[in-house]
Symmetry: none
Subunit: 462 residues, 2 copies
């Protein structure tokens, strides 16, 4: 690019890094800085502007985290292709462009959706797959819309044993991921339904609801999960909750609150609870807590679960347990179609469960993730004043660094090539905790945990 014409304003109240950040966004929006162009090196820019290296690093880190720039190791920073091409000036959506980049593994993977790939039973999965492929030619034909009956039968037993879910095979719908299944649920419920969602909460739910034009009421959480009084005031008739392990806060909803939500749902015919049980398998201090669905006597709970965390996110198998009252509507809309999950994979997973391989795999996974979490928490004690929350369960926790801004934390981490999201990325309203980032640990390799914790600690220390 041509010379940097930025003049830092001492009278400007904004921090220096933000001035630099905004300057480059302006250059991109105006087209002066084009797709693929290289930015000045950090060192050169420090010298030109007379600021510290960390100021420039923070600015570049923010631009990278938000997808404006692409960091090429040992080369420098480049204007992201996607953004330069598609985004009209002023309309920039933050991390949109990031997806256009070929997925490069980050230095340390603190994302919330990863798993430890060393756990996966490659040999037995491959063996069962081969067996399934050559076993029954009928598996090539179109299967039942709700998933193969034999797989659903296995799931009813599985769900009762592992989650206390009580259902029969005809209530189950197998589908390609929770996000897809939520879009199925939305089409089963009346268009006028108003959805109460946890705030902070699972972003995909929000996107599914709004892309279907549904009304959303964000409900703040207290230390038991969705605040029931706020739910009542909201006028919503469908409450979407993660009772086993609130995402991302990590709270487990106590049984009293669960009962009160069930009472609330039973008060009117059009009320439902959507229970998202996404990672309930992983509890470290106690046994898994049975699902709310098992307490439901009134057919009010729509239960959603997935094998993404317990087997692998790359294999797309999730399931829905419908109350009997919604089965007819399901068949009307979806009954003529085919399942969204390959029958080979349904049958592979069925045999994997039936032969006891799943339970062994899960036991190993829980043990490994417990150890990893313990180790990471131990290492993070080096970060003065840092607090962690939601460590009793799941594959992520919250890390709060008092006195720091979460944007600053995320930018500093991005500079160190560690993608991290602040809590507000999961919020519709104000984040309930300041200076907080969401830290996943399943994707970190055990042996790299000390180095990863050190890198994070260094990034967060001025």
């Amino acid at each position: 690019m041509e010379a940097v014409t930025l003049k830092l304003q001492t009278g400007d109240k904004r921090p220096l890094y933000e001035q630099i950040y905004r300057y480059f966004i302006g250059e991109m929006e105006s087209g002066r800085l084009k797709e693929g162009e290289k930015l000045p090196s950090k060192r050169a820019l420090c010298a030109a502007l007379g600021v510290s290296q960390s100021t420039v690093e923070t600015a570049y880190g923010m631009l990278t985290a938000e997808g404006y720039l692409r960091a090429v190791p040992k080369s420098g920073y480049y204007v992201s292709a996607a953004l330069a091409r598609s985004v009209p000036a002023g309309e920039l959506r933050p991390p949109a462009g990031a997806e256009d980049l070929p997925p490069q593994p980050p230095r340390f993977d603190f994302s919330t959706g990863a798993v430890d790939t060393s756990l996966f039973p490659y040999a037995s999965w491959a063996r069962i797959s081969r067996e399934v492929i050559s076993r029954d030619p009928q598996l090539l034909q179109r299967g039942e819309a709700e998933g193969d009956r034999s797989f659903r039968e296995t799931l009813t037993v599985f769900l009762r044993e592992y989650r206390g879910v009580r259902c029969e095979a005809d209530q189950i719908v197998v589908g390609a991921g929770i996000e897809y299944l939520l879009s199925v649920v939305v089409r089963l419920l009346p268009e006028k339904a108003v959805y109460a969602v946890e705030d902070p909460g699972y972003g995909a739910l929000h996107r599914v609801l709004s892309s279907h034009g549904r009304s959303i009421c964000p409900i703040p959480l207290d230390d038991e999960g969705m605040d029931e009084a706020a739910l009542r005031r909201s006028g919503a008739n469908v409450a979407c909750v993660t009772p086993s392990h609130q995402f991302p806060m990590g709270v487990t909803m106590p049984v009293g609150r669960r009962s009160r939500l069930l009472y609330w749902a039973e008060e009117a015919e059009d009320r439902y609870l959507i229970e998202d049980d996404y990672d309930s398998e992983f509890r470290y201090a106690s046994r898994p807590i049975p699902a709310m669905q098992g307490m439901d006597g009134g057919g009010k709970v729509i239960y959603v679960g997935t094998f993404s965390r317990s087997v692998a996110p790359g294999i797309r198998v999730a399931y829905l347990v419908l109350p009997r009252s919604l089965i007819g509507r399901y068949r009307e809309i979806f009954g003529y179609g085919a399942s969204t999950v390959s029958r080979f994979e349904q049958q592979t997973l069925r045999l994997f469960i039936q032969r006891g391989l799943y339970s062994r795999h899960l036991r190993r996974s829980v043990n490994l993730y417990r150890k990893k979490q313990e180790r990471l928490l131990e290492e993070l004690r080096a970060l003065p004043g840092a607090e962690t929350r939601g460590t009793e369960a799941g594959l992520h926790f919250l890390l709060t660094v008092p006195g720091k801004d979460e944007k600053w934390l995320a930018a500093r981490a991005a500079q160190a090539d560690i993608p991290l999201r602040g809590l507000s990325a999961y919020c519709l309203g104000k984040p309930p905790l300041l200076g907080t980032v969401v830290v996943g640990f399943a994707g970190l390799k055990t042996e790299e945990i000390p180095a990863a914790a050190r890198a994070l600690t260094e990034a967060f220390t001025e």
Copy 2:
């Protein structure tokens, strides 16, 4: 197990296979037949009961399909572990409604969505699957929302070569079936969009649109496909067409009509064409006709295709080619999610295509289906006055029996255990042809075609 104490009742109105089926369920419920126990061989049971082999096969088939039994190749049938454990006596849901019944293969499979399973390359598919499973642990992690980039790159080449589709990898979205992908498209287009659909047409499209609350205008067809004048009068702004091979009429849209539809779409910014290219690979009299997408200079065509017919419906892989103008909206709604297709299967299919196995498989398939169609048409000449239409392409055709009512035809076929649908099952308005049923032939075994044709001819003769 101990001796089979079943006595078949001649006074019992239930078919023999059902008596056998219920007997074994009773034995399992009462606990007399336990988890893992082996059942008598089919041959032994035939001899003991004095019934035909097919009666026992039907009963064992039902029990296996419903998950009660597990068939172990070259060994026999065993009581399924999961069920023996799970099913408390008396709580079993009887297979009450037709919908609850496991999908039983009909006597002759004239359905439009089946494939010939003898074509499937079991060995190479299993070999590539195993290779993929053990190749790259990163495949276990969450993949890109629109599908793995490497697979999309392969698809761009594939689509150019096979279908004349011109696109880049970032326009492609891989998804679990055309029906799913249509529901994605509906959410990309404005809520107010009005959809023109072919009448007769693809039922799933209609269900997707109405379950999203979208407005639908059925447009009658002429002998070139969707009637353009009627489309203009309708006020619709999205036209959904099957130009390569209209479903179910079998018409191929000539290039003049294609151009006029493209002109229509270019006249207004909010107009789009959805091109469903579901079975374009199969043409018997000529080479496949390139997709309309390849003629589109204005970014007006949303292209949808699938591997359901050319590989197998049980493997759920379809794809969407978006015009550039819709990519941003796609990323906004779906960009943060994961693909609905397992990465193992994306990669297996990618290698299957890249190594030339797909093209070989397709050549063999086209040849076999051509022969089957010829044979079936020849045999159906025995039906006096019968006319066939739409035989130039695809895996189905129309069969008209003049002077007969299609309801009567379908009922007579059903009596002979041959499920068939009348043309009006695909119509929103009146069917354009009377006395017409839709006949698929891909799922018929080659050797059973004469018998199947004879059964149909007999059913249709009073």
